[in-house]
């Protein structure tokens, strides 16, 4: 069982809500993944109308919601979003994301630390998304974060654990859970993170942009639990990266008609 703040989780796979082709697929994939903690962007939520095609099915599915501050570019904006989400969704859990750089969505360490301190002081359960920076993770732990979420590689890139060396140091040093976030593109990457001793992984793009998200969600579930078992047993394996195949019907066939 994974303890995060005051909550227990039997699944060590956290998921997200972005990039799915429809909300039905989203809910089915989350169910198939066994995930109990699901993050979603507050900026996507329609605050003016009560019905929302992301929020409503999520609430109905019974998972714990982890609102994130994606879109915020500095501490002040992130704190504002967190407060808004606490008010609207009634949860004090927040995944703190601050990326002023729209190209690679690199998290801003200085603003993140500032916001983390402010939010912890206000009683939030803060899970900051950060670069795989061991010193920064120590600072975040000191200000009271419930976990740290270092990246494996640039968000949405599916490149796997490019930061492996630094993740190992973070895992070795941390006294709070370490959730590897961003860049996990294949079940093998997730497994590798778990074998290294990560407490959990967060996977979104790799599931949502798969040809069959539900099946892929199941694959990640197995990979995460196998990786955890291997860690506990003291084993490790290497991983591979699958290439996408090209479509049967040419994409540019419409030009010939």
């Amino acid at each position: 069982m994974l303890m995060l703040a005051d909550s227990q989780f039997s699944s060590r796979l956290f998921t997200g809500t972005g990039k799915f082709s429809c909300s039905k697929t989203m809910v089915a994939s989350i169910e198939a993944s066994g995930s109990q903690l699901v993050t979603m962007a507050m900026k996507r939520i329609d605050l003016k109308t009560a019905s929302d095609d992301i929020l409503a099915p999520l609430k109905a599915s019974g998972v714990k919601l982890l609102p994130n501050t994606s879109g915020a570019r500095n501490a002040q904006e992130a704190v504002f979003v967190a407060e808004l989400s606490r008010e609207v969704l009634g949860t004090s859990w927040v995944k703190l994301e601050i990326h002023p750089d729209p190209k690679y969505l690199m998290p801003d360490p200085i603003e993140t630390l500032k916001a983390a301190k402010m939010l912890c002081d206000k009683g939030f359960v803060v899970l900051p998304y950060v670069h795989a920076d061991p010193v920064l993770c120590r600072h975040l732990e000191e200000v009271g974060c419930a976990a740290v979420m270092p990246l494996g590689s640039p968000i949405g890139s599916n490149q796997g654990l490019a930061t492996q060396t630094f993740l190992k140091i973070i895992i070795e040093q941390a006294n709070i859970p370490v959730v590897v976030d961003a860049g996990i593109g294949a079940p093998s990457h997730a497994m590798q993170a778990m074998e290294m001793g990560a407490s959990a992984v967060l996977v979104n793009t790799a599931i949502a942009s798969s040809r069959d998200p539900v099946a892929m969600a199941r694959c990640f579930e197995s990979a995460v639990s196998a990786g955890r078992d291997a860690y506990l047993a003291g084993l490790g394996v290497t991983s591979c990266y699958a290439q996408q195949t090209s479509p049967q019907k040419p994409l540019t066939a419409f030009l010939e008609s």
Partner: protein, 372 residues
């Protein structure tokens, strides 16, 4: 060094020669790794890349899917005014055109807004002709708060402004500015812009830098494809984008690829862009810049638009009117250009969903931006 200086010092003739003498080998290597490389962009824009259009499309689709999922951002143009003090020979709003001129009053604007809101849009593009005195900063500043009350994301496509004017509008809630260079060939530029402030080629080239310094979230670049050699204009646009990303990393960038279309008193394109050429262009930019937003207006026909979603296009308009007051009171005499895709919003959306894409109406929460 400003981009204008960089642009002026480029060996244009030499670059053009290279663009047209590229061979299959260069295209093949550009297909493998092209991100951020101007020489790869050149290869992909070249005539030599035409036989590789399918391979380009496959890669473009893969990249777009990974970065943007199946999301297509929805926006709508709202024409504030068709007053214009310029003469651009491709545009129906040109000063000498006999046309009923009109700027929306605040009541008319509210009416337009309420109709647009009912259709579900939350992202709006305010458009006007370029009339410094009647439709200038004071007019924009008085109208913007009305718009911002109702839309999370507000973009503008109006004349270039000063940096302090942009700052003022940012404080009032402006999120994005679209400003198209039309062409990067100064001679062609002068031929088509024969009267008014828009004649100042340099001021226009410099504008995105002023916009970025003013703290605008997103900058839209574009050329009017067909005015000049579109391959070369697109390449210069790539240089511009490359410069801006290097110097202003906090901004997002978007690209518009309007083709020259018939309008009142219009002209024929010097170098027409075929559908295939447009696909090549979109794919080339997607491979060059994975996070670039690419938007497609209703200038393009429905059949084509529906096929372009996966290949790199990330934002579209639907059910557009290109005349001031056109949503509450459609007249069709005040149009800036002819619309090709005249399907309703719901028709456009159902065709999109049938292709496996989903409309995103809201992707922004303006209240938490620029709190400081």
């Amino acid at each position: 060094m400003s981009f204008y200086d960089e642009l002026s010092s480029l060996p244009r003739e030499q670059l053009k020669l290279s663009l047209y003498s590229i061979g299959p080998k260069e295209v093949e290597s550009a297909l493998v790794s092209s991100e951020g490389s101007l020489s790869s962009l050149m290869a992909l824009l070249s005539p030599a890349a035409e036989p590789y259009i399918e391979q380009m499309a496959v890669r473009a689709k893969e990249i777009t899917r990974r970065r943007f999922g199946t999301n297509i951002g929805m926006y709508l143009p709202l024409y504030l005014s068709n007053l214009c003090a310029n003469e651009c020979d491709y545009c129906g709003f040109s000063m000498s055109n006999k046309l009923k001129r009109k700027s929306l009053t605040s009541d008319e604007l509210k009416q337009e807004i309420s109709i647009i809101k009912r259709q579900g849009f939350d992202s709006i593009l305010l458009v006007s002709g370029e009339h410094e005195t009647k439709v200038g900063i004071d007019y924009f500043a008085s109208m913007l708060p009305l718009v911002k009350k109702q839309f999370s994301y507000v973009a503008m496509e109006v004349q270039p402004l000063r940096e302090d004017e942009y700052k003022h509008l940012v404080n009032l809630g402006l999120d994005a500015v679209m400003l198209y260079q039309e062409t990067y060939n100064p001679t062609t530029y002068q031929e088509h812009h024969t009267r008014g402030n828009k004649q100042d080629y340099r001021y226009r080239v410099d504008s995105p830098e002023r916009i970025a310094r003013a703290g605008v979230d997103k900058i839209g670049l574009g050329v009017l494809l067909g005015l000049d050699d579109w391959r070369f204009d697109a390449l210069m646009l790539g240089y511009h984008l490359h410069y801006l990303e290097r110097h202003f990393w906090r901004c997002r960038y978007s690209l518009s690829l309007p083709r020259l279309r018939p309008c009142t008193g219009g002209i024929t394109p010097k170098m027409p862009l075929t559908d295939k050429g447009l696909v090549q262009l979109i794919c080339a930019f997607r491979l060059f810049n994975q996070q670039l937003e690419i938007s497609l207006s209703t200038r393009e026909p429905a059949s084509l638009r529906d096929n372009l979603y996966g290949l790199g296009v990330t934002h579209i308009s639907a059910g557009s009117s290109t005349e001031p007051g056109g949503y509450s009171n459609p007249q069709r005499q005040l149009n800036q250009f002819e619309i090709s895709d005249d399907r309703s919003v719901s028709e456009t959306v159902s065709a999109m969903v049938a292709k496996g894409y989903i409309p995103v109406w809201k992707d922004w929460q303006s209240e938490w931006i620029n709190l400081s």
